[in-house]
Symmetry: C2
Subunit: 222 residues, 2 copies
């Protein structure tokens, strides 16, 4: 992106010195943006979303409040950026799982999702509990990141339901992800009677196994 900016500036016939001064400034902005994002992520990770305040963040990074709002349009944009890093981490964790037969693959994906939630409870909570104000829908690039994180379930579903259309498989993948998410959420949030981790792991395995065994019967492809 930085290189692209340079070449655009040069193509427009700007003097090199002005272009390079602006490039340095763009580089600085990007560096500061990353620093702010890392500090915000750290606050959410350590203390929870409720403790993320622009004033504290500015003090921590050593910049002015104005700088934050210059780099992120508002606190919602900053939280969205933090949540995007969580989606990317989830995506990387699931991408590391080697392709294998559908049941084992789905079990590994579900276990990896539970692990992420257990190891990063406050980041995971921020990802699912934070709501943008109703007049600010999430941008398309955020939905694309979500879709990418869920897409890992599509490979085993393709092997399991080879005749299903791509659209139906995507929908089913999202449903299975949501089902596992529900068990993880109501399990680790301790909203219901608290559930110990090994029991939660066993219940998720039971759920995923039942779904994978039952899907071909339900879809009439068994």
């Amino acid at each position: 992106m930085f290189n692209q900016w340079i070449s655009q500036s040069m193509n427009q016939g700007e003097p090199i010195s002005a272009a390079s001064a602006r490039a340095i400034s763009a580089q600085r902005r990007q560096g500061l943006r990353e620093e702010l994002l890392a500090a915000a992520r750290d606050i959410v990770d350590q203390h929870g979303l409720e403790q993320l305040r622009a004033r504290d963040l500015a003090a921590r990074v050593g910049c002015s409040l104005g700088t934050i709002y210059n780099l992120f349009s508002d606190l919602d944009a900053l939280i969205l950026a933090v949540n995007a890093t969580s989606l990317e981490a989830l995506d990387r964790a699931m991408a590391r799982i080697a392709p294998q037969e559908p049941l084992a693959h789905c079990l590994a994906l579900a276990a990896s999702y539970l692990d992420y939630a257990v190891e990063n409870p406050r980041l995971w909570d921020a990802l699912f509990r934070y709501r943008l104000p109703s007049n600010k829908p999430a941008p398309d690039w955020f939905f694309a990141l979500q879709d990418r994180a869920f897409s890992h379930i599509e490979a085993p579903l393709t092997r399991l339901c080879p005749t299903m259309t791509h659209a139906d498989r995507r929908l089913l993948g999202r449903t299975l992800f949501s089902a596992v998410h529900g068990v993880v959420a109501l399990g680790i949030e301790q909203r219901l009677t608290p559930m110990a981790l090994p029991i939660l792991q066993a219940q998720i395995s039971l759920l995923v196994s039942a779904i994978i065994h039952g899907l071909p019967v339900t879809l009439g492809t068994s």
Copy 2:
């Protein structure tokens, strides 16, 4: 409870007149408590949990702020009482479903849960999104209400998995409820790409059917 209080007072040899004066006062307290609860529920239902403020509630019911805190220990206790009425409504909706063969019964229960969430989005949201402060665990009576609302899934599971222990069946019932809850939550909260209601209904039916078909295979009881 009111009668019990009267008889306790009389057993303790208090003069009838004092007991009856106190009984009237207890009755008034109960009436005002119910009025406050109904008004709070109405605010959450119409405007969402964020709009529930003690000051507005006092103005609406025509009592002092002190009266609210005399009848509910704090706002958390009031929200818990609102959420309890939602659990009771869910319980009544599920209790109305006639016993039938396991798959049809589970499909009807899941559909009834989705209906409740769709028809009462803000009450449903308050039930699942509100968190008590970490130093205030929910009281046992609240967990008992949750257990009762989930218990309706146990009848079809008993028919489906007759050899399962009662404890395992309760755990499985909670897992299946959580799975359906996850699909409902990520479907209607529009946190992911928005999903139309008929598609959501079809996905929930697909999930429940797959689970019910696959459970006996997974449990080795098919």
